[in-house]
């Protein structure tokens, strides 16, 4: 009851503002007149994701399903997506969301997302083990991995190992997005593994090692766009994500390059989710099924180097080499319990700030 009353109060107080907005926001109508439906997809805004996803997945989908339109609502980060979804929980305008698995878990628990119907999304059965999520909640739609990017002009010998971060040559020219960003969390996991331990038991050795890195780091700021920092030579070495880095490499004519350190890395999974209470759940699942289909997965991999989650996807070897999907690479990936990590995120963030960044 309380829930109801507080929720009811706010819109009432904001009537004037809503009235103001009514004339300008112009939400896409459901277009009932011509029989087409508009499915609203929320996904990443930055790093070329939107442009490539529209080209590789949405346009072909719309061509195949002339009565379904997909509108892309770009948002900077998964956290911000969750924030937005929360505020419209009672009356969602978004139908499908692509976001990081760790954040999606929270949304699943909060009841923002709803499990998919395996019958409506047949492609689910062909997904890799890594992509499957409990209870048929939104499965993985892309695979990626944490990597190192470097400025090719300043760095003559490309880094090969995470240990290269401690190379004095990079002193003051390193950028790492500290926790709560996933980059820093991931680095903690990787270091724990390299140092012969396991992040689930103790991260003390990793933190100890990171303390020595601290003075060399120029910025710990969460950069939505680390790639520009590297391209412009502001820093020479940075933690970054493979797929976007590959794209940036091509777009910057090689000013930046990306390596997967030999010790391996962690995988990052973007899941595709159905919003609970979606008024277009059936069309939304049609789209999700397409997004998980071998064709769509292959096309997007070719455009942006996210590895497909569908095992049947056929990807060019050249492209495949630049994604995380090759068997050799997959072997080096460290298994991560994202659910567990999400719960420890706050604690790790605090440890980082106290013991690493303050050095």
């Amino acid at each position: 009851m309380r829930r109801m009353s507080t929720r009811a109060l706010l819109p009432l107080l904001l009537v004037p503002a809503v009235a103001l907005s009514a004339c300008s926001t112009g939400n896409a109508s459901d277009g009932a007149d011509d029989g087409t439906t508009t499915v609203r997809l929320m996904a990443y805004a930055t790093g070329g994701f939107k442009e490539k996803y529209v080209k590789a997945v949405i346009q072909p989908f719309e061509a195949a399903h002339p009565n379904i339109k997909v509108e892309y609502d770009p948002v900077v980060s998964s956290a911000e997506m969750l924030g937005r979804l929360r505020t419209q929980k009672s009356n969602p305008t978004i139908d499908v969301v692509i976001m990081d698995l760790s954040v999606a878990e929270s949304a699943n628990k909060e009841g923002i997302f709803t499990p998919l119907d395996p019958a409506a999304v047949p492609n689910m059965k062909d997904l890799s083990e890594h992509a499957k999520v409990r209870d048929n909640f939104g499965p993985g739609v892309t695979f990626d991995n944490l990597a190192l990017v470097y400025n090719t002009e300043a760095v003559t010998t490309p880094p090969t190992s995470w240990n290269d971060l401690w190379d004095p040559a990079y002193k003051g020219k390193i950028s790492i997005s500290a926790p709560p960003q996933l980059d820093g969390i991931g680095l903690t996991v990787i270091l724990s593994k390299i140092l012969g331990g396991d992040y689930t038991t103790s991260i003390d050795p990793a933190i100890e090692r990171l303390r020595k890195l601290a003075p060399s780091v120029q910025t710990w700021n969460p950069q939505p766009d680390t790639y520009t920092l590297v391209k412009s030579g502001q820093v020479n070495l940075a933690l970054a994500w493979n797929a976007r880095a590959q794209l940036q490499h091509d777009q910057s004519n090689g000013a930046l390059d990306v390596v997967l350190p030999k010790e391996g890395s962690i995988m990052q999974v973007n899941t595709i989710n159905l919003v609970k209470g979606s008024k277009r759940a059936s069309d939304a699942q049609t789209f999700i099924d397409y997004a998980l289909s071998p064709e769509a997965q292959a096309l997007f991999a070719a455009e942006m180097f996210y590895a497909p989650t569908n095992t049947l996807a056929k990807v060019d070897d050249e492209v495949a080499q630049r994604t995380v999907m090759t068997p050799e690479k997959l072997k080096t990936m460290i298994a991560v319990d994202w659910n567990r990590l999400a719960e420890q995120r706050a604690q790790w963030t605090e440890i980082w700030r106290k013991d690493v960044i303050s050095q």
Binding site: A79, G83, W220, A346, S358
Partner: protein, 291 residues
């Protein structure tokens, strides 16, 4: 003579006042009061697990915040930064303020505008200026190494040093404005009188000018302190992720960790802190004024 003779006719007066106030109150209500109430309400909700928001009426967030060592550390750091910036900003602003309060130069208007104009320039732009000035290969470092003073560049950005330098500059116009306003009692005549009684310039300054300018200094200090404690842009852009203050913490909790109740509780506590400082300041001000 009744002062209320300004009013217009009839029983419509109260109605007229209400009608005139309506747009302003509505605008402030929507853009200020409702959000604050909503913020206070949100601070009573709970976050469970990683980031799951639960509607509740609970002081959990406050307890969590207040029993968290890290929060205390950040708060302490914020206050320390505020105090340091306040002292420095007041010191560097004092000469300008005193000069502007007393000069009879024809250029006074222009100089006044020059001192205050930066206030109306975005702090993003001014912080950017400092990034250029202070970066490793920036102007300050190249000047210093050019003069042979330093061998290796000083790290002046992406750390607390840069934040302090930039904040001091950003706060200067506020300090200058507040001080000029508070320098009303500092008159040239008093100094001249002291001079005629045989006081040297320095003694004159220490015994007459400075004590009289204290209320202005206090007002300026409070203004700078309050603004520094809530500064966000500069610590974020200049701090290199190393400088944690309450403002950046609120931003992170609100946008990255998505712990809204915690962010709201922090905000409410920051507001309370402000209230305490305002009261303390008024006490102090009265003490100094009443001397």
């Amino acid at each position: 003579m009744p002062t209320s003779s300004r009013s217009s006719e009839g029983g419509t007066r109260r109605g007229a006042a209400a009608a005139l106030l309506a747009p302003g109150l509505l605008a402030l209500g929507v853009s200020f009061l409702v959000p604050l109430v909503w913020l206070a309400r949100m601070s009573l909700n709970r976050t469970v697990g990683p980031a799951e928001l639960q509607t509740a009426v609970s002081l959990r967030s406050y307890i969590d915040v207040l029993t968290d060592d890290f929060v205390w550390e950040v708060a302490w750091h914020t206050l320390w930064l505020g105090a340091l910036v306040t002292v420095l900003a007041v010191v560097v602003s004092y000469p300008i303020a005193l000069f502007l309060a007393r000069t009879r130069s024809r250029l006074r208007g222009l100089l006044m505008a020059l001192a205050i104009a930066p206030l109306l320039t975005s702090s993003v732009v001014r912080t950017f200026g400092w990034l250029i000035l202070l970066s490793d290969d920036g102007i300050v470092n190249s000047a210093l190494s050019g003069l042979g003073i330093i061998g290796e560049p000083l790290t002046l950005t992406n750390n607390v040093t840069g934040v302090v330098i930039a904040l001091v500059e950003i706060m200067m116009p506020y300090a200058i404005l507040a001080m000029i306003a508070g320098f009303g009692r500092v008159s040239k005549d008093l100094e001249d009188a002291a001079g005629s009684l045989g006081a040297g310039r320095l003694r004159c300054f220490v015994r007459i000018t400075f004590p009289l300018s204290l209320p202005g200094v206090l007002t300026g200090a409070l203004m700078v302190f309050v603004l520094t404690v809530s500064a966000f842009i500069t610590p974020r852009l200049m701090g290199g992720g190393r400088v944690f203050v309450i403002a950046t913490e609120i931003y992170d909790q609100a946008t990255t960790t998505l712990d809204w109740p915690r962010a709201s509780a922090l905000s409410v506590l920051l507001l309370l802190l402000f209230g305490v400082f305002l009261v303390l300041y008024q006490r102090l001000f009265r003490m100094v004024e009443g001397r």
